[in-house]
């Protein structure tokens, strides 16, 4: 029964390993949990699940697997009313069996044994190796005594609860398939870490000191090295306003996670598509702007660029000069985008729209093509793939966009 639970858990997406399962059995044997289904649940969860994101999956498998088990526990927990039990047992047993009961020491003795056995059973069940009637050692099993059939103590349970712990599914929102929180984003961004020693030497280099001292004929020669820091530089370009409004929360989360994670983080906003200017402060987006040329000159190609936007707009906004919904742009979005992709070889576009919807929007397809297919959904998995992409792409100047050619119709614009 428990082995099946184990395999079900694995099938249900909870990464349980054999040693963990064995340690749960060990805990059961040590009688750590011996009182109720609930304790068994806690014990199993503690021993088998090591990440709160998997709690919900565990709960589901548990509920499915032990459905009805709770009821049985309750029955076994209840006090046995002796009169009633005797009456029922008498009705159920044949004359021959009654004689065997007498041989066992009479009703009182029998009831006592039964109660004891039930108490033991309750514990044993949690050990998962013995049930009334299944093990074949119980005198009650022989006599056709079925605790379920007799319904001992039903309805008077002291342990009934309105909702079973595992049915409450309180951990639903910790599952990583569902939500992308700041924490998850941070975990994703961490893939990008690359430590390097840069800056002022202020940490003692023990090995270097020993080495230098030895070379110095034993005279102490202290060596210092700079502290290890995350050397990755990130340039975040965020789409704001309009169709991005529903995604504000996830973008904020991404932003705050990135802020905490990278020492060299620069960010700019754009609306719908990058043109000749970007800005840092949305309230003064028309007065304080940064020229995109300045952006390209300021930041080296070793910056990794992350675009965040839904890329959902009219195709004209990308293809045509003057296509911008906000201002007159002399050169088309396509031109600007290809300039950016050429300057920054390591670049990805994160799209908060679900991946399966991309194909219905032509502008998404164009943008995808412009960023050389490096568009990823803003989910944990997508972020993961994006970060891997940013890691892999060759060094500065290594890769240029294959599709980002300047279209000639940009010339006859203004």
């Amino acid at each position: 029964m428990l082995v099946r639970f184990f395999t079900d858990l694995r099938a249900g997406g909870v990464p349980v390993t054999l040693p963990e399962f064995l340690s749960m059995l060990e805990a059961l044997e040590a009688r750590v949990a011996a009182l109720s289904a609930e304790e068994f649940y806690y014990l199993a969860r503690m021993a088998l699940v090591k990440d709160e994101r998997h709690f919900d999956r565990f709960d589901r498998v548990f509920a499915e697997h032990f459905e009805g088990a709770e009821k049985l526990f309750e029955k076994l927990m209840a006090e046995l009313p002796p009169e009633w039990l005797k009456q029922i047992t008498e009705r159920l047993l044949t004359e021959e069996e009654k004689q065997r009961v007498q041989a066992l020491g009479g009703w009182d003795k029998l009831l006592e044994t039964l109660r004891e056995r039930l108490r033991e059973q309750k514990e044993r069940h949690e050990g998962g190796n013995k049930w009334i009637g299944t093990a074949g050692t119980s005198p009650f099993g022989n006599q056709g005594f079925n605790p379920e059939g007799v319904r001992i103590g039903q309805g008077k349970s002291r342990h009934r609860r309105a909702v079973k712990v595992w049915d409450a599914r309180d951990y639903r929102n910790l599952d990583d398939d569902i939500e992308l929180g700041t924490r998850n984003i941070k975990m994703g961004l961490r893939r990008l870490r690359r430590f390097a020693r840069e800056g002022a030497a202020e940490e003692l280099d023990l090995d270097g000191t020993i080495d230098a001292t030895a070379r110095n004929a034993g005279l102490l020669d202290i060596k210092l090295v700079p502290e290890r820091r995350n050397a990755v530089k990130l340039l975040l370009l965020l789409d704001v306003g309009g169709s991005m409004d529903p995604h504000v929360k996830v973008c904020e989360e991404l932003f705050s996670a990135a802020r905490a994670e990278f020492k060299h983080l620069e960010y700019f906003y754009f609306h719908n598509f990058p043109y000749e200017r970007v800005w840092k402060d949305n309230r003064r987006r028309f007065s304080v702007v940064t020229d995109t040329w300045t952006l390209l000159r300021t930041f080296n190609p070793d910056y990794r660029v992350v675009f965040v936007g839904d890329a959902t707009m009219s195709p004209y906004e990308i293809e045509e000069p003057g296509g911008s919904v906000e201002h007159w742009n002399n050169e088309s979005g396509r031109v600007w985008m290809s300039r950016i992709t050429r300057h920054f070889p390591r670049l990805v576009w994160l799209n908060p729209e679900p991946e399966e919807r991309w194909q219905w929007t032509p502008s998404v397809a164009i943008t995808r093509e412009l960023v050389d297919n490096r568009m990823f959904p803003l989910t944990l998995d997508g972020l993961d793939r994006a970060m891997r992409e940013l890691r892999q792409r060759g060094g500065p100047g290594g890769v240029t966009s294959r599709h980002g050619l300047t279209p000639d119709h940009s010339a006859d614009a203004s």
């Binding site: 340690s23 060990e26 806690y42 503690m46 021993a47 090591k50």
Partner: protein, 284 residues
């Protein structure tokens, strides 16, 4: 005979699942990994277990620069070098320069100790992997002196994590895991009672109501936690705020008194002020 089952202490309210987790870890001698929202008493748990079971407590607080061997021992090569130049006598024995870490000290304890490894996720990603053998077999080898240090009694090891890094599977496999959930209203009342036994029921009720209301506010960046609630109540008591001041029957007054103890982020305060403003408008 010391107590062997942990049932919480007069200062610490333990839920049944937490008790179960601690007792299983104690019985089987497995490390217990504790996660949970900040401020739910993860670190405090170790101290309370030590107190309840009357065991010595060893603490090892992890920093981003911590290395696994810091917990075992450190060889102070620099002072040995210096001493050798001064011609000190003790320089001849390397033992004088081996500084024991908390893990070693816990291993040497005469009774089963409690060892807290606090915020293991602060350290480098490889850190937990470097401790596998030590936590599994409860022994380690001191290379400098060629001696094997073995635990006299398997310590009760508590490891806390704030989830800043994913811990390696091999490490997780060796631990029991418990996630401290944010307490529900009943548990919270018990917790506050434990800390402020003389608190008037009225004030407690009002404080809890507004606390949970604050937590429910959508879009908060940092939800207030248990420890912040306790601080806040302490403040309320110190300032002798009457329960009426907290009463929520005035929808126009959303920002609770002394909210600085509960809301720690200027954006959150702004959010709150906006809500107050909106409510005022709606009330008109």
């Amino acid at each position: 005979m010391t107590e062997t089952r942990f049932t919480g202490t007069e200062n610490y309210v333990a839920t049944p699942d937490l008790m179960m987790a601690v007792n299983a870890a104690v019985t089987l001698g497995r490390p217990l990994l504790i996660k949970g929202e900040p401020g739910t008493g993860k670190t405090q748990l170790a101290a309370e277990i030590a107190r309840a079971l009357q065991r010595p407590l060893y603490e090892w607080h992890i920093k981003s620069t911590s290395k696994a061997h810091h917990g075992l021992y450190e060889y102070d090569a620099v002072s040995r070098l210096r001493d050798s130049q001064l011609g000190e006598e003790k320089v001849r024995d390397i033992r004088n320069y081996i500084i024991k870490g908390s893990l070693w000290e816990a291993f040497e304890s005469n009774v089963q100790p409690v060892l807290l490894i606090d915020e293991i996720d602060k350290a480098d990603i490889e850190f937990p992997n470097d401790l596998l053998r030590e936590l599994d077999r409860m022994e380690f080898f001191v290379h400098e002196t060629r001696e094997l240090v073995k635990a006299r009694h398997r310590p009760i090891i508590l490891i806390t994590s704030n989830n800043e890094k994913e811990l390696p599977d091999a490490f997780l496999r060796r631990c029991f895991f418990h996630y401290i959930r944010f307490p529900d209203a009943d548990t919270m009342e018990k917790i506050v009672r434990v800390h402020f036994p003389n608190l008037k029921a009225e004030l407690l009720g009002e404080a809890l109501t507004s606390f949970f209301a604050v937590r429910e506010t959508p879009g908060l960046r940092k939800k207030p936690s248990t420890s912040e609630l306790l601080d806040w109540i302490k403040l309320l008591l110190a300032e002798d705020i009457p329960p009426d001041a907290l009463r929520g029957n005035d929808p126009k007054k959303l920002l609770p008194v002394m909210h600085g103890a509960l809301i720690k982020n200027e954006q959150d305060v702004h959010l709150f002020e906006q809500l107050v403003f909106l409510n005022k408008r709606a009330g008109r």
